[in-house]
């Protein structure tokens, strides 16, 4: 199962290497990692999307992350009300008459064209991973020349619903 885990870490040298090294050594499968500075000086936020086999495996993952000296807090936010976003840049092959067609495809996704050349155009899309995936799928027939994604970054919503039904009613 896929879990979204966030970690608050001290921004010390080698911290990313230390954490990815541990995940690799203990055979955790990383889907994506995104890292950036947080609102506090000297503190960074990491967001991992990691595939785990079961609950025991998940518990090991959070414990091993917590064990790292630089890691201040670890949260598995998969089942919480969260906002999760990633950004993708997609370069697709397109000649003049395909451009309008592609525009039509990307507009419901609120994606935008950020570069155009004779044979290609580059699209930027932001959103939940499944939305980004859906757009990539739709663009496939045009020939994807290049694709890059930032990986998911996420945190808890300001308001956490009290019941499970509320939770499921909340869109990511």
């Amino acid at each position: 199962m896929k879990r979204i885990i966030t970690a608050t870490v001290q921004d010390r040298s080698g911290v990313l290497n230390r954490i990815t090294g541990m995940l690799h050594k203990r055979q955790f499968n990383i889907d994506s990692i995104s890292v950036g500075k947080s609102e506090t000086e000297g503190i960074s936020k990491m967001t991992f999307v990691i595939e785990v086999s079961d609950h025991q495996n998940l518990e090991q993952l959070t414990k091993q992350l917590n064990k790292q000296i630089d890691v201040i807090k670890v949260s598995d936010i998969t089942d919480k009300a969260i906002v999760a976003r990633e950004l993708a840049l997609i370069k697709v092959g397109s000649n003049g008459h395909q451009r309008a067609e592609i525009q039509g495809i990307i507009s419901p996704f609120r994606a935008s064209v950020i570069d155009v050349s004779k044979e290609s155009m580059t699209i930027q899309v932001t959103g939940k991973p499944d939305k980004v995936e859906a757009l990539i799928e739709l663009l496939h027939p045009y020939g994807i020349k290049e694709l890059t994604k930032t990986g998911v970054t996420a945190f808890l919503r300001g308001h956490q619903p009290k019941t499970v039904t509320d939770l499921h009613a909340t869109p990511l």
Partner: protein, 572 residues
């Protein structure tokens, strides 16, 4: 021709380098022994060692691996961090086995490596190695010092991290320009580690649950590991086990945490554990693990490990709880604090039949071995050493058959007398570890029990033994083979002894003598008691080449992949 150079008197502050500052931090940490080896990148540090009138002793090894295993031995018997200095590049990479060994067995070490100057790091400079990169997966934490200002803080943090919580090795990489930098400043060493707050005191709720589980138990068992030794909780463990009449089994590294000769002691559990201990693990209904990590050499096949038991686990490292064995009652705490909390509880004891059964197993299926007509039988040899040293020696070993026989037959009654390489299983560990142990405990009898294979991996340290005048007794259990490899080839590879038998060995007696050390060879059991008596009454180091039967195997045994109840070689 002599140049007439006017010597300017130097004041202390004028001559303060980063290295002097570094030495001062070691003095502040009350370091009394340093295990090291000089080289280009640590020349400023060694110059400071030379000039300092500090109250510590520097022990020069003959290979950096010797330094680090000695530091491990020192840490194991003193409980204080072992301190190592090595140069950059090959100096640092020669430490890798020892660092990994210390990581696996949770030994507190603070290791200082020289590094090329900051300006050339990353250019593949002479004797440059990516020490941070290499040691990240094998250390509890590591640092590269970036500025002289942070040096005192980094050193203080390193000692703190190495010696608190679950102990472990910490590497501090110091670029040469920083140790050479001249400074007159003093810098703060205060630190804050918000991500590192080991939980010492147990959650009272979990202690209550644990006490209740023990009250309902019909077949309770304590498994005591090295965590008991690290938290200095042997007295509490004994009091607890006696108060509630709980039987105790030890892990390999936990030996000595509970008296080996105690009536409630079932012995070592695991691959070469006793029948009584392994069957107790198999049959128990409440298993209380105190400071052990359910290593695969202990558990055997996980499906058959304590299949009927409710498992409780006291450990200072939460990541060890539930890692291999599902745990009903996790207690994240220091062993001593947890045992003290448990001692205040009212726990009912109702397991007389269980006790009787265990005693029956102990008496009916004791460890056994065959005596030999020629050469020595290795188990008997360990028995003899136990007798002569009155069970009171500090014993170090490598890994393999001699290690298992020592664990089985040298019944440890006191804590911190047993120094062995458990998790990593390092050949060449025992002898240098004995040097460190003797330096840490100068008044105690230290015996290195080593194999002829392992000894040849680090025997260059004989020079250190001579130089430091250490009265270590080196017992070579010499079967002219890699005994455990040979045993597995006999049992599982149809006696195809591939590269496990030594055709040539040095004459260990002459070898010792060439180092200026007394050497003795024992070849017959009839000669052994008298000759061993001579060895142990000799006031100085002795290397004893004990020729033992090659075909002896370590029994009983749980074959790989088998369960605790499937031991072979239980009876003669």
């Amino acid at each position: 021709m002599k140049l007439d150079v006017k010597q300017e008197p130097k004041s202390e502050t004028e001559f303060m380098t980063g290295a002097d500052l570094f030495i001062q931090t070691l003095v502040d940490e009350q370091v009394d022994t340093i295990f090291g080896y000089p080289g280009g990148a640590v020349l400023p540090i060694y110059d400071a060692v030379y000039r300092s009138k500090a109250a510590f002793k520097h022990v020069l090894s003959r290979h950096e691996q010797g330094s680090i295993h000695a530091a491990e031995g020192y840490a194991r018997v003193t409980g204080r961090p072992g301190v190592v200095i090595a140069t950059s590049g090959p100096g640092a990479t020669n430490l890798i086995t020892g660092i990994t060994d210390a990581m696996m067995d949770s030994l507190p070490l603070v290791i200082f490596t020289g590094q090329v100057a900051s300006g050339v790091i990353g250019t593949d400079a002479f004797q440059e190695a990516d020490v941070l990169g290499i040691t990240t997966p094998i250390t509890k934490y590591n640092y590269q010092v970036k500025t002289i200002e942070e040096l005192p803080r980094v050193v203080k943090e390193a000692f703190h991290i190495a010696s608190t919580g679950r102990p472990g090795p910490v590497v501090v990489d110091i670029p040469k320009n920083i140790s050479a930098e001249v400074t007159a400043g003093s810098y703060p060493n205060t630190f804050s580690l918000p991500g590192y707050q080991p939980n010492v005191n147990p959650n009272p709720l979990q202690i209550t649950k644990l006490a209740e589980a023990l009250s309902h138990a019909k077949k309770p068992l304590i498994l005591a590991g090295a965590g008991v030794l690290f938290s200095k909780a042997s007295a509490e463990l004994k009091e607890f086990a006696e108060k509630y009449e709980l039987p105790v089994a030890n892990t390999l590294l936990g030996l000595g945490s509970f008296p080996g000769s105690h009536p409630q002691m079932l012995g070592m559990a695991g691959m070469h554990g006793t029948y009584a201990a392994n069957m107790a693990l198999y049959e128990c209904d409440v298993l209380l693990n105190i400071g052990a990590r359910f290593d695969d050499r202990l558990t055997g096949n996980l499906q058959h490990f304590a299949p009927h038991a409710k498992v409780a686990h006291i450990d200072i490292d939460p990541a060890e709880i539930g890692k291999n064995i599902p745990t009903a009652i996790p207690v994240v705490a220091d062993a001593k604090a947890a045992l003290q909390a448990l001692l205040t509880k009212d726990i009912k004891t109702d397991h007389e039949d269980w006790q009787k059964g265990l005693q029956h197993n102990k008496l009916t299926f004791p460890l056994w071995y065959d005596r030999s007509d020629e050469l020595l039988s290795p188990q008997w040899l360990i028995d003899q050493i136990h007798k002569i040293s009155e069970g009171d020696a500090i014993i170090t070993t490598d890994v393999g058959q001699h290690q298992m026989w020592t664990a089985q037959y040298y019944s440890f009654d006191k804590p911190n007398k047993w120094v062995t390489s458990g998790g990593l299983g390092t050949m060449g560990f025992g002898f240098p570890a004995a040097i460190g142990a003797q330096l840490g405990a100068p008044d105690e009898l230290v015996v290195a029990v080593v194999g002829d294979g392992g000894f040849q991996m680090t025997l260059q340290e004989l020079s250190v033994l001579k130089e430091q005048q250490l009265p270590v007794k080196v017992i070579i259990v010499n079967n002219q083979a890699l005994g455990m490899v040979r045993q597995w080839q006999e049992s599982f590879y149809e006696e195809r002894y591939s590269e496990s038998l030594f055709i040539e060995n040095p004459d260990f007696v002459k070898l010792a003598e060439s180092y200026g050390i007394k050497g003795i060879r024992i070849e017959k059991e009839t000669d052994a008691p008298e000759m061993l008596e001579e060895v142990f009454s000799y006031n100085g180091p002795v290397v004893v080449d004990c020729r033992v039967v090659q075909k002896e195997c370590v029994y009983p045994m749980i074959a790989p992949g088998k369960g605790l109840h499937e031991m072979i070689g239980v009876k003669r």
